[in-house]
Amino acid sequence: MLLAADVPFPPSVEDFYLPSIVPWGEHDNYWFTKITALLWITVALIIIFFLVTYRKPKLVPTKKQWIAESIYGFVRNNIAVDMIGPRGVTFAPYLTTLFCFILMMNLWGIVPVVQISPNSHIAFPAVLAVISYVMFIYVGARHHGGWKYFKHALIPPAPWFILPLLIPIEFFSTFLVRPFSLAVRLFANMFAGHMLLLVFTLGGFAMLNANAWFAPFSVVSWVMTIALTFLEFLVVCLQAYVFTVLTASYVQGALADEH
């Protein structure tokens, strides 16, 4: 049992660097931490879930098959086809994988006892953003042909004298800001969410320790933690959705024929 007296109050970035799990390392060794374990568990859970639910697909779906089909159907119809158009069906499998992976990774942030999302380390969102970045450029280059794609992406239909201003802006927003903002958005949401829960949980202990007048209010702080966990649930789902929708929208932009 953790002693209330030695709970450090203002949580810091250090709280995200968890110690390594025993068999694989000692102190200050980050090769195998809770984060690593959660990543593998996430991947395993998603693979097992879809394998089990799709092992014997029936015409009249069972309950599990129905859940898997509604997840895929949601991403396929409401994200891929809605954003990209009929061609979006090709991208539905990747988008579904992306959606499930981010959702599951984010959900660890609010699962009791676990309560940290691997996505609160920028490495994970950064890799996902790089995949989306490479994918939309590749798809665009394949669809239009290399030079034509960059011409199409960088030169908007505008009078010639405004182009020196527009081309750098288009380059900046399409090729620099997009991957960066994708990664930072997901990372910062999960980071801030974890921080928020830490502030209210540890704040409760801090008030308990402060003096007799503050002590009862620690209960308020912990009730706030529970309320914020529900808010986090909303943010978790929203961020998984937003990441997928934005990836779909970038692919759509790359595939668009004319402005």
Binding site: V13, I79, V184, A192, V242
Partner: protein, 73 residues
């Protein structure tokens, strides 16, 4: 006599940085509610754009959080 104030100015900075995105996100949803009230059948059509707009604006506030920690002094 002056009271001593300790802590990071990043906290104040983040408060200021959140004003803009706050207004922006408010505008996005106000526009969505208005358009849906005027034309209820357009609500599904505009929803993806609401989330894209929201996400792009919200990124500013989140950059504020991230940079607040990076440049905290």
């Amino acid at each position: 006599m002056l009271a001593e104030v300790a802590g990071s100015t990043a906290a104040i900075g983040y408060g200021l940085a959140a004003i803009g995105p706050g207004i922006g996100v408010g505008l996005v949803f106000s526009a969505y509610i208005q358009s849906t009230a005027r034309q209820p059948e357009s609500s599904r059509l505009t929803l993806p754009y609401v989330w894209i707009g929201f996400a792009v604006i919200e990124a500013l506030a989140l950059l504020g959080i991230a940079f607040g920690f990076i440049w905290a002094a």
